[in-house]
């Protein structure tokens, strides 16, 4: 029972951590930009999945216009990206050039019979039930639909650092537990066993003696 709870706890923690990384770290899609638009957003339950208003503007208003980039991916499905400043906040992309990016995206627009493909770097998730969109970080023109996405060095670096730190903490905690906590717990258990032995023998004196 205790093992089951422990496994559930740790699996939940690791799924959450993996989710945060999958949401926050950059990914690259090869797409064809079909259109760009802007639309007012009234943030509600999904407000966690939206970034900041443009840096320097009044960020306290409850709704604002957001840029979007409509695309069709090489696989054939569509993907809509939002295009927002992350500014000085989370996640730390320090993106301030939202309007410039929208201009670049508009410039790279193409129709199906004269397709131009672009690599669009983004973070975040598309979810229709929450109305959330991945946030585009940069676009660059590529040769064709089979263009390489490049190796995700940044992701490899960050995840390696993170796992190293976790491993370091875990090793130290384990050493501390073996050295300090386990002997104490054993001593307490021994005391308890002794005490319960004493109690049951005291009860034993009540029992009928044969």
């Amino acid at each position: 029972m205790f093992g089951f709870i422990r496994w559930t706890f740790w699996i939940t923690i690791w799924v959450l951590i993996a989710g945060v990384f999958h949401y926050t770290l950059p990914q690259v899609d090869i797409v064809r930009i079909t259109d760009t638009y802007e639309k007012r957003q009234d943030f509600g339950e999904n407000s966690l999945f939206w970034a900041q208003a443009d840096t320097g503007t009044d960020g306290t208003l409850t709704n604002r216009d957001v840029f979007f980039i409509q695309t069709r991916r090489v696989k054939g499905d569509v993907m809509v990206y939002r295009n927002e400043d992350t500014g000085w906040g989370w996640p730390p992309y320090f993106k301030f050039d939202t309007s410039n990016l929208q201009a670049e995206a508009g410039d790279l627009k193409s129709a199906e019979d004269d397709a131009r493909y672009v690599a669009i770097k983004h973070y975040g998730w598309r979810n229709e039930f929450l109305t959330i969109f991945p946030n585009a970080i940069s676009v660059r023109a590529v040769d064709g639909p089979d263009a390489s996405k490049g190796i995700a060095w940044v992701n490899i670096f960050i995840i390696t650092i993170f796992l190293t730190v976790v491993y370091g903490i875990w090793v130290r905690w384990r050493r501390f537990r073996i050295a300090r906590i386990d002997p104490t717990m054993e001593a307490i258990e021994d005391d308890l066993a002794e005490a319960s032995g004493a109690v049951s023998s005291w009860f034993g004196t009540w029992r009928k003696k044969n």
Binding site: G56, G59, G87, W88, G89, P92, F94, K95, F96, D97
Partner: protein, 88 residues
């Protein structure tokens, strides 16, 4: 401006915690090494005098000043990310 101020304040607090921990740790490591050195050496001074002298040298050393890079590296990192995201 508020967002930038918040980032700087939070960053400064977090980095200061790291800086203080690292400083104390580094000094403790040096102290341990000096103690071992004294036990092996000719022991011409008392242990306390030897440690005081050694730690005074450590306080002036480059290694201690290098711990200040705890503040410098994140600033450089943020600048690089700002450049790469917005201007390249």
């Amino acid at each position: 401006m508020f967002a930038l101020a918040r980032l700087m304040v939070v960053g400064f607090v977090v980095l200061t915690v790291i800086y203080v921990c690292l400083s104390l740790y580094s000094r403790a490591v040096r102290k341990g090494k000096l103690r071992a050195q004294w036990h092996e050496g000719p022991q011409e001074q008392t242990l306390d005098a030897f440690l005081d002298e050694g730690l005074e040298d450590y306080d002036k050393s480059l290694r201690r000043k290098l711990i200040l890079s705890v503040y410098v590296i994140p600033v450089i990192l943020v600048s690089v990310v700002i450049y790469l995201t917005n201007f390249s």
